[in-house]
């Protein structure tokens, strides 16, 4: 069973910094069209903010932030979002992952592709975040308990 850190500085600082890292990760995902960034980088930063709490705190605290049993199902959800965007385009008459055919009629064709990229980025970010957290959880879970 993992104990929380003894140092009050670590406990306080990790608690303060973690939400800001998470906010910046979300910014990197959703602003990926205009600046360096995207699903992979933003997902890694979200994972970093969750892992910071996981390293510093005890199990009871970090279970409240992000449950251990959620990480594989949410990763599957991320992959499913990606597949779903491709599949919708295919069902509506285009090629697989051809964002032109997404059912957003009121936008210009270039903007439809823009929205398709955004959905794909969200799926990638979710999958990368949860899988990195899942790898950490499974590696650190000791069997001496």
């Amino acid at each position: 069973m993992k104990k929380s850190s003894d140092s009050p500085i670590i406990l306080l600082l990790s608690r303060v910094i973690s939400p800001y890292i998470m906010l910046f990760g979300l910014y990197v995902i959703f602003h990926g069209h205009y600046s360096p960034g995207g699903g992979f980088q933003g997902g890694t930063m979200l994972a970093a903010s969750i892992l910071l709490i996981r390293i510093a705190m005890e199990e009871k605290v970090y279970e409240m932030q992000f449950k251990k049993s959620f990480d594989i199902p949410l990763g599957a959800l991320g992959v499913l979002i990606f597949f779903g965007v491709g599949l919708i385009a295919m069902l509506l008459g285009g090629n697989f992952l051809d964002h032109h055919f997404l059912p957003i009629d009121w936008l210009a064709p270039a903007d439809v592709r823009f929205m398709g990229i955004l959905f794909v980025e969200v799926g990638v970010g979710l999958a990368v975040m949860t899988i990195l957290v899942a790898i950490y959880d499974n590696l650190l879970e000791d069997d001496d308990a």
Partner: protein
């Protein structure tokens, strides 16, 4: 001659990095050190692709209004960047799986030395 060296020296440093990674994978006996060698090897390959994308006097591949994109010499080559972005994340996943296997090996045989591992597997 000096021009040639200035145009090629980054390849030589990347090759040095690749040889260091290969040295870790071949010569070290500890499996974790082999894994570290593999990551260094991977980093050298990624650096090689990124250095192939450079164009002199060009800017990053994010379009701005002030720089025209009709002349492709104004923006560096975006394709290697996109390819290496996936390679980095796959590298992280590979390292995770490798560590999982190493933990299982250590739990079962109580060693990570290659020679001892082969002895105990018999």
């Amino acid at each position: 001659m000096l021009d040639f060296i200035a145009g090629h020296y980054d390849y030589w440093f990347i090759i040095l990095l690749l040889i260091i990674g290969l040295y870790g994978m071949i010569m070290k006996k500890n499996l974790v050190k082999k894994l570290i060698g593999m990551t260094i090897f991977q980093a050298s390959i990624i650096l090689f692709y990124i250095s192939g994308a450079i164009k002199a006097d060009a800017t990053v591949p994010i379009l701005t209004d002030s720089i025209s994109n009709a002349d492709t010499a104004n923006y560096i080559n975006p394709l290697p960047h996109a390819l290496m972005l996936t390679a980095i994340v796959v590298g992280v996943a590979t390292v995770g799986v490798a560590f999982a296997i190493l933990i299982q090996l250590y739990n079962r045989y109580k060693t990570l030395n290659e020679q001892e591992l082969i002895e105990r597997m018999k």
